[in-house]
Symmetry: C2
Subunit: 189 residues, 2 copies
């Protein structure tokens, strides 16, 4: 109850709100807001996205399933976890994560559990990323990515993953967070 | 050399590029791009930001300096690392990080090193976050945040930080990544 009251006091009041762009891959909203201390911020931008998912997928042989692809925002090609967006037709983030793993890598099956929930940037984005840990996955098909996705699939040992993390190769914070947590919890250092 | 050639093949060719919004807190660019396999993506959005910084700050007594503030994108109030934006007048990301720690918490001094470089989302954003590890910091002044920042300062023991991480309180991926790395490297579990 005390927590709830504090949360109410800390929330900003939205005085006005309008969309500045609404496209399938970018929706941005401009809010005019007032802080609890009465300060008015005339333009505060929020990026609206669907929920996102990512997967630490481990094969029966204990290999981590990674993908490698070009990322145009930063202009780099890096190893990453399999990840994607919750589509409207997905009944849950778990289904989205399983679909993304199948599409991007051809792997599936095994045991799945939600491992972490993260935000890429809670100041600016309104969505969460649901990060799954899938164990005992198997290669069930060939990958079948979308036409715009040029992705290669790679299997790494735990020590190879540690080396990728330490070298700075895993630059995507959502992926670094779950992988470093896995390293910490499994005492891989 | 082989790596460089591969990187060239993986990069997308920008066919057209225009800004859809250019404001101090939101700059978005729409690129028309072509993948190496010849697929044209008619609208791909990139968000342009200055470099960002964050700090794991440890006092001489071994306490972690955290801040707590409301985040309007997600609409939540959470504990976070001290973090901010590189201003034009900052001569380096290190200076930005030291300035942010002083402004938001009043702490400073000690030994600083770059601990990780991360991207909030390399598919969509063009900037990096430089994460510092500052040890032996001291409270040198009162905090002096900007008028729009309503921030409280909190000191936690290493085991309190582990509990915050495990509970899911640390939802900002850029912060979870550096903190889980610290936990892994310092064998705090």
């Amino acid at each position: 109850m005390a927590e709830e009251k504090r949360a109410e006091r800390e929330d900003w009041t939205v005085l006005e709100s309008e969309y500045v762009i609404r496209r399938p891959w970018l929706t941005a909203r401009r809010d005019r807001v007032q802080t609890p201390h009465g300060v008015v911020i005339p333009e505060y931008y929020v990026l609206e996205y669907p929920e996102w998912v990512s997967v630490i997928a481990l094969t029966r042989e204990g290999r981590f399933v990674f993908v490698r692809q070009y990322r145009h925002g930063l202009g780099v090609t890096r190893y990453e976890l399999c990840a994607g967006v919750c589509e409207r037709e997905d009944v849950s983030p778990l289904v989205s994560a399983q679909r993304e793993l199948s599409e991007e890598t051809g792997y599936g099956g095994g045991e799945w559990r939600e491992y972490m929930v993260l935000s890429a940037n809670p100041g600016a984005t309104n969505n969460l990323t649901h990060c799954y840990l899938a164990t005992d996955v198997e290669r069930l098909s060939a990958p079948h990515p979308e036409a715009t996705e040029e992705i290669s699939v790679h299997l790494f040992t735990p020590q190879e993953v540690v080396a990728l993390l330490r070298s700075g190769e895993i630059i995507q914070a959502l992926h670094a967070a779950v992988l470093w947590r896995y390293v910490a919890e499994h005492h891989l250092l």
